[in-house]
């Protein structure tokens, strides 16, 4: 079978860049440290003195909230405009209206820290949607 030489042309820029990368070798490994931060911080809550503001985040949506911690570290949890699923759930009786569609969530057993409380409310919202 015959072959016809059609001449030469420069390789495309992407191919040249790839060859350059291979020729240069790997960059030195960089150790990436894990962040050890409380859950409330990881989820983007902000803290100002004894108050936290942020949102309870679930696969069914994020719901605005705030938390107030007293001098003994006991926290009160509030949520704005809870979803219909929660309003029709057996736990709805534990949501006390505080005006302007804000509700305080009463904890029968208090969490030891704010992060655990946020997780509890996020779990409650999720379970209400899945019941």
């Amino acid at each position: 079978m015959g072959m016809r030489n059609l001449g030469t042309r420069p390789a495309p820029a992407s191919v040249r860049a790839f060859i350059m990368r291979v020729a240069r070798g790997h960059a030195p490994l960089v150790a990436v440290l894990r962040r050890e931060i409380p859950y409330w911080q990881e989820r983007g809550w902000r803290r100002a003195k004894n108050r936290y503001a942020g949102s309870y985040q679930t696969r069914y949506g994020a719901f605005e909230g705030w938390i107030e911690e007293d001098a003994f570290g006991r926290a009160k949890f509030y949520v704005y405009n809870p979803p219909q699923a929660v309003r029709h759930d057996a736990h709805w009786a534990c949501f006390t209206p505080r005006g302007s569609d804000w509700f305080m969530v009463h904890m029968g057993k208090r969490p030891n820290d704010v992060s655990s409380g946020i997780m509890t409310i996020e779990r409650l919202i999720t379970e209400a949607h899945e019941r």
């Binding site: 409380p38 859950y39 696969r59 009463h106 904890m107 029968g108 992060s115 999720t126």
Partner: protein
């Protein structure tokens, strides 16, 4: 053996552990000295029961959470 990282929700502290088949959530909590805590894969997932095999529930290298027991309940008449 599986490796997993247990994140203590309140402090953010991460405890790396290696578990053998059959290790329960209760075993893990006891050995990590987190007896007042519950384990879960996250807030959208249910808690592991103490007698449940954590080994069967987690993937190698997975991060799971330990949070303190809390319960929404009892009406407050304000």
């Amino acid at each position: 053996m599986k490796k997993l990282s247990v994140v203590v929700a309140g402090s953010g502290q991460i405890r790396d552990v290696e578990i053998e088949p059959g290790t329960t959530a209760g075993d893990l909590l006891q050995q990590l000295n987190l007896s007042d805590y519950l384990l879960s894969r996250g807030p959208n997932e249910p808690f592991f029961a103490a007698s449940e095999s954590a080994y069967d529930k987690v993937r190698d290298g997975e991060k799971i959470f330990a949070s303190t027991k809390a319960e929404v309940g009892d009406v407050v008449w304000a």
